[in-house]
C-alpha cells in the first residue's frame, strides 16, 4: 500500500465533500459558499500538516504515487508524438517508450521509462523495469538523434533495471554499459528529467546528459531502497532505513551537484496539478535546450565530460607514501 495514499485519505475525503457542496451550491437555492470557504481553509491546513514535513521514506512513496504523472503523460503533452518500437534484435520492451515529437515546434527524440497505472498495466510495463532490449531500443533512438541532429529528451521513472534470469542472459550489464558510453559521446544536446523514481544504473542508463532536472518530490539513488537494504543488510524489508540513509531527495542531489535544476511541485505532489507540473517540466526543458543548442557539438561533448568528471568524493592522503 502506498503510504501517501493512506496519509492523504482525510484530505481526499474533505475534497470530495467540498466538490459535493460546490455542486449543491450551483443547483440549489441555498448559499453554501461560507461552508465551502471554511472547508477549503481546513483542506489547505490539512495539506500543510500532511505534506510539509515528509520523511525520506514518505518521499519515496510520493514518487511512487499511483496518480503521479508518468513518462507518457509528459511525452503526450509534446506535439505530434510518434512512438517507435523495438530493438531490432529480440523484442519491444514496454517498460521503455521512445519516439519523436515536437517541443514548441522543435523536433526532438524522446525516451521514457514507463510504469503502469494499475496492476494489469504494471504487469505489461514490468513496473517500469527495463530489460536489456529496452536499453537497446533507447540506443537505437540515441543513434537516430545523432544521425538526424535532433536533441534528446529523457524521462526517468524506474525502480531499476530488471533483475531477472532473461535480463541477465541477454546482458543487462552490457546494455547499460553501452548506453552510458553512447550518451557520453552523443553530439546532440541531452536533457534528462527525473520525474518519479530514479533507481540505480537502470535510471542512469538514460540519465547521462547535459542538463538534468528533477521534480521536487522525485527520488534518485544508487539503488532502490529495497535493493540497497538487500545489498547492505540482506533484508529488503529494511527499505525505510535505507531510504533515510541514501540521501535521495532532490535537495540532496542538487547539493551533490548531480542535478542542475529542481522543478517545484504543488503542495501534496505532482498529481495534485498534473497539467501544471507537465507544463513546467517541458518549459524547463525548452529553456535548457535553447541554451545548449548554441554550443558546437564538440563543446557540448566536452562540457558533458567535465560535468561528470567533477563528481566524486576523494582526497589525497599526504603522509601515507612515506610510511609504506
Amino acid at each position: 500500500m502506498n503510504l501517501i495514499v493512506e496519509l492523504e485519505k482525510p484530505l481526499t475525503e474533505l475534497e470530495a465533500k467540498i466538490e459535493g457542496l460546490k455542486r449543491l451550491n450551483e443547483t440549489q437555492r441555498v448559499d453554501f459558499s461560507g461552508e465551502i470557504r471554511a472547508l477549503e481553509e481546513r483542506a489547505q491546513q490539512l495539506k500543510l500538516e500532511i505534506f510539509s514535513n515528509l520523511s525520506a521514506w514518505q518521499r519515496v512513496h510520493l514518487a511512487r504515487h499511483p496518480k503521479r504523472p508518468l513518462a507518457l503523460d509528459y511525452i503526450a503533452a509534446l506535439d505530434g508524438f510518434t512512438e517507435l518500437h523495438g530493438d531490432r534484435m529480440f523484442r519491444d520492451d514496454p517498460a521503455v517508450v521512445a519516439g519523436f515529437a515536437y517541443l514548441d515546434g522543435l523536433p526532438v527524440f524522446v525516451i521514457g521509462e514507463q510504469k503502469g497505472r494499475d496492476t494489469k498495466e504494471n504487469l505489461y510495463r514490468n513496473f517500469g523495469m527495463p530489460h536489456p532490449e529496452g536499453y537497446r531500443k533507447t540506443q537505437r533512438i540515441m543513434r537516430l538523434a545523432q544521425k538526424f541532429k535532433r536533441p534528446l529528451l529523457t524521462f526517468i521513472d524506474t525502480p531499476g533495471a530488471y533483475p531477472g534470469i532473461g535480463a541477465e542472459e541477454r546482458g543487462q550489464s552490457e546494455a547499460i554499459a553501452a548506453s552510458l558510453r553512447l550518451m557520453a559521446g552523443l553530439s546532440v544536446p541531452i536533457v534528462v528529467n527525473v520525474t518519479g523514481e530514479g533507481g540505480s544504473g537502470g535510471a542512469l542508463a538514460i540519465g547521462l546528459g547535459d542538463h538534468v532536472t528533477m521534480l521536487q518530490h522525485s527520488v534518485y539513488s544508487v539503488a532502490s531502497p529495497e535493493a540497497a537494504a538487500a545489498i547492505l543488510w540482506r533484508d529488503s524489508t529494511k527499505a525505510e532505513e535505507a531510504a533515510t540513509r541514501l540521501r535521495l531527495t532532490s535537495d540532496d542531489l542538487f547539493e551533490f551537484g548531480i542535478i542542475d535544476e529542481i522543478i517545484r511541485e504543488p503542495l501534496g505532489g505532482a498529481h495534485r496539478d498534473a497539467a501544471g507540473v507537465i507544463r513546467s517540466v517541458l518549459a524547463a526543458d525548452r529553456r535548457a535546450l535553447d541554451a545548449l543548442m548554441l554550443l558546437s557539438s564538440e563543446a557540448l561533448v566536452d562540457r558533458r565530460y567535465e560535468k561528470y568528471r567533477r563528481l566524486g568524493s576523494h582526497a589525497e592522503l599526504m603522509h601515507d607514501r612515506a610510511a609504506r
Partner: protein, 282 residues
Amino acid sequence: MSPTPNWLRRRSPRPEAAADPLWEICPACNERLYRKDLDQRLRVCPRCGHHFRIGSLERIALLADGDFQELAGNLVTGDPLRWVDRVPYPQKIANDRTKSGLLEAVVVGFCAIESVPVGLGVMDFSFRGGTMGGVVGEKITLLIEECARRRLPVVIVCASGGARMEEGAIALMQMAKASAAVERFSELGLPLVTVLTDPTTGGVSASFGFQGDVIIAESGAAIGFAGRRVIDQTIRQKLPEGFQSAEFLLEKGQVDMVVRRSELKGALGGALRFLTAKAVPA
C-alpha cells in the same frame, strides 16, 4: 607466483584471514589444501580447479612483467552522505584498511604484460567488497585519461559487488564518469581489455566491466548485473544451475573467452600484442 617486486614488499603484510596458518579448505570440493602448495598453484584448487579469490597485489604480481609504477595511490574517500548504520562509514573504511593493508578497493598504475607496456587497474574484493565509490571511479578515470595521454592500452581486472551504497548517488555517478573516459579513450583507437573475476556485478559490470573491446572472464567467476541476493529478494525465481558463472556467460555470448588463472597472462599478452601492433599498410 612470480617473485615479489619491490613495490609490493614495501607494503604491510596482509593478515591471514583463516585461523590455520598451514592448511585451507577448498569451499567447492572441501579438499584440505596445504597453503604453500595452494599459493604456488596461483590459489587454484589442484583437485577441482576452484579459483580462490586473490587480492589486487597478488594479481599485479601475477600479471606484471616486473616493476609496477602506481598512480594516485594516496587517494582516500570522503564521507559525502555522512553515512551511519551499525558503524559510521569512515569506521568501516578504517577497518577495511587495517584488514586488507590497502587504502581503497582498486590499485592502478603502469607496467608491462608480456613485454607490452600497459595501464593496469586491479580491483580488490577484500576492501568493501570491491565496491566502487568516489575513489575507485576517480582512479579508474585517471588511469584511462593518463593512458590516453601516453597512448597506452588499458587492462582492468574487475572484482566488485558494484556501486558502494554508502556513497549513494555519488557512487552511481562514477559509472557515468568512467564510461565517459572509456568513450574518449576508445575514440583514439586505443584498446581496453577487461578481465571479469569473481565477483563482477552491478555498477562495475554495467560500466567499464562490459565496455572492454575484448572481455576475458576468469573460470568460475560469478558475473552479472544483479547479484543473486537482489534477484532472490526481488523476484523470488529459482535460478538455473551455473547461472551467472563465467562459463554461463560465454555460452550466452556475453564474454569473449573464459580462461584459467594460469592462462590469464598469456591471453592478455596475446590480445594486447594483436591490438597494439602497427596496422597493416593499406
